[in-house]
Amino acid sequence: MADFGFESSDRKEEFFSEAQEIVDALGKLLLDVEVTVAESRVDPDVINEMFRAVHTLKGIAGLFGATRMSGMSHELENILDDVRMGRLDLTAAVLDLLFRAVDLYTHILLFERGDAPDPEHQIAALLSSFARVTQPDEAPTSNIFTQFDLDPGLFGVLTEYEEHRLKSNIESGLALFRLRVRFSLMVLDSALEDLKKKAKPLGEIITYLPAPSTDESDFENLELDILMASKCPTSLIETTLSIEGLVVNPVLRRVGGAPPPKHGPPKSNTPLPKIGGAPSMPPPTIAGPPRLPRDLIPDSVATPAPSRKSSRPGSRHSLTPAGGAGQAAQFVGKSAAQTTVRVDIRKLDRLMTILGELAIVRSAVGRLAERFRGSVEHRELGGDLHRLHRTFERHLGQMQNGILEVRMVQLGPVFDKLQRGLRAISREYSRPVNLVITGQETEIDKLIVEELSDPLMHMVRNAFDHGIEDLEDRIKVGKPEVGTVALNAFQKGNHVVIEVEDDGRGMDPKLIIASAIRKGVITESESGEMSARDAYRLVFVPGFSTKAVVTDLSGRGVGLDVVKTNISRLGGIVDITSDVGIGTKMTITLPVTLAIINVLIVELAGRSFAIPLASVEEAFVYEPARTRNVEGREVLSLRGQSLPICNLLKLLHLNTFDDEGRKYYVVTVAVGIRRLGLLVDRLEGQQDIVIKPLGRSLKAVRGFSGAAELGDQRVALVIDVAAIVEEVLAGDQGRYLAIAGDGRG
């Protein structure tokens, strides 16, 4: 084995941890199986899982030179193979052996680590017991598959086990089905999980075949051809799985059991429906494997004789008719460059952390340069160092931008998903709607994008359900028959703005307020004080719904409050503007990136805090004489506008000495269209920081988006401006009227 140098102990550790994990899992599976054996309802999936566990153990043991382990695994694999192939019954004796084997695995692992004696004799004893229980009967295999009108090319891609499962399902009288589905790669894991869960009670999925793509620049979707055995009728499978675009086709039994054609490309005797009516593709010319290095293939398998010639590549170009792109084909996103690499975002985070450390070094060098320049005897040296420092700073900045750029992804795929979603509900409710999209090329941090599609979908549904009027109503007021929902995105400074706009009935503040009073969200006397904007904010209160008839779409009273929570978790804010009879616009304002940020360091009661500069408008000396008290809130008049003031000391419950006669600064922060003045003791300066999340035990603490190192081991909390603004200005229901919106009073 090659010498891998310093990394090899890491790799060995990887081996131990994976092996132990597998052995533990095997022990658990065995316990499950024991129960099912007693009730004679053994799940073939569990047996197969055990087989695969041992198979993997054998594989990795071989690679890492754990010979005891690979030897035993080899025998165990044979036994489990016999069991899963139905050649060996799972008797009590076999079960006991398997339990002993699991026990022995742990022992072997300890031995390999050097923590236990060599279990050589125990293994020998177990292997001899193996020999006694395994006498599989070699029943001749009849070709049961010929009964089915199955594409012979299909068999070429079944593993031996899959073929066995197929056979045993046919033998127990189940029918076969081909399922065609199209999944978005973005949600593949959950879609698959969902499919498996729903399919389990219906029967057994034999295999998933990725369908050859008709559009190879399709980055978004994966089309699958699924072979399934089930007792249920087609319609039940369709309704139980209920997947958009799913096509279920029964595989017909041949009359008289004629064998399938053995040579030449068979005619399309498994007629799958053409979905979406895409034009059929010319048969691709398939070249054989490019190069086959004979010397690498031992004689025994060098010239494999495939059981059916027709399973050779090229003899049949597709398992499915060409042009099988799903109905959503027209909604597929734009193609992107072919030369992309997928990078784990954690790797970028690591780079960012290193960059943060470098930024700290940079400022230390800068301070040193300044000190030298200030001294008489080192002035020249200081000048040189200063120039070097400037160059360093510039390159560091470029590198930072470069890494940030890599984290950026376009909003396009999210918008495409919204488009598909809107299309689905529009069809479901037979209400046509136009969707206009602009700015899909706008880029935003990948981490933000991942969290964005759910809240946006809620907003789009909300626009469709509550915004767009029924056809008759639209005609009555002279609007175009088909309503329009617009999605607009654009960058604005360090923020990305996403608007969801509709040309529907708009939101009437009076109706919202009336509804809120009826629901007990606010009292009659409170309502007198409310501006239109205050009223719109009511729709974000949990449990609030403005539509009289609650449909099963978005108007379940949950939704917009969740949207608000999700968006503020990303450091963003949602705002509503609306004109009755004309339409509603919801605006999300989000930071472009979550990774590295430029902050203003402020001091508060002797502690340092960081405020993201992207949210800071200005900072000035606080003059108590210019403030007034409005409904218990301090408000400052600034250039003819009122700015509500927040005493952070009080809000954060910070202890301090007597604060009589202290000089304060006001830092004006803005999120969306809301502004707030934060009172701080001192302004320390600006700095680029790498923001790190607070630990899990601090999850519940509101008001901070993380913390960052400032150098000299000092750590400063980063103020979550959106959360503070939210807490102070909107607050929870009880403090709803504490809002002192701009332009009031």
């Binding site: 090659a2 071989g62 694999e77 790669l185 998933y208």
Partner: protein, 131 residues
């Protein structure tokens, strides 16, 4: 940069294969490439639209989408059909290996294999002078 795709559901085997392929001397000898990992057939499917590979190394016995289906898919794909494929599997699945070769896999290695054997095999497909 050229890329080699590993499709394998065992972390340890993937780590081993990556280690062997990223070995400095080996990389220098073959002219360098990046190693991309896929922990399942589905992850591999997600990789295929994103660019081509100098070579694909795949396990056979994987859940859901198995290695044979990957070979089949690759050979039918316009963009990837010429990509060399190396199957890695255990000896006991001889029949599956035979099927893989029948479907158009370029070579196979039975587990356990040495890093050198893997390197020699991959080298025969990606060495610059043979390109």
């Amino acid at each position: 940069m050229r890329r080699v795709l590993i499709v394998e559901d065992s972390n340890a085997v993937r780590t081993f294969v990556r280690g062997a392929l990223e070995d400095e001397d080996f990389q220098r000898a073959v002219g360098g490439f990046d190693v991309i990992e896929a922990a399942s057939g589905f992850e591999a499917m997600a990789q295929f639209p994103r660019g081509t590979f100098a070579c694909i190394v795949t396990d056979i016995n994987m859940g859901d989408i198995n290695g044979l289906e990957i070979v089949n898919f690759v050979r039918k794909s316009e963009a990837h059909r010429l990509t060399p494929i190396v199957i890695i599997s255990t000896q006991s699945s001889e029949r599956d290996i035979a099927r893989g070769l029948a479907l158009g896999a370029s070579a196979y290695l039975t587990k356990p294999f040495s890093a050198e054997a893997l390197q020699a095999c991959v080298r025969s497909f990606v060495a610059p002078d043979e390109g």
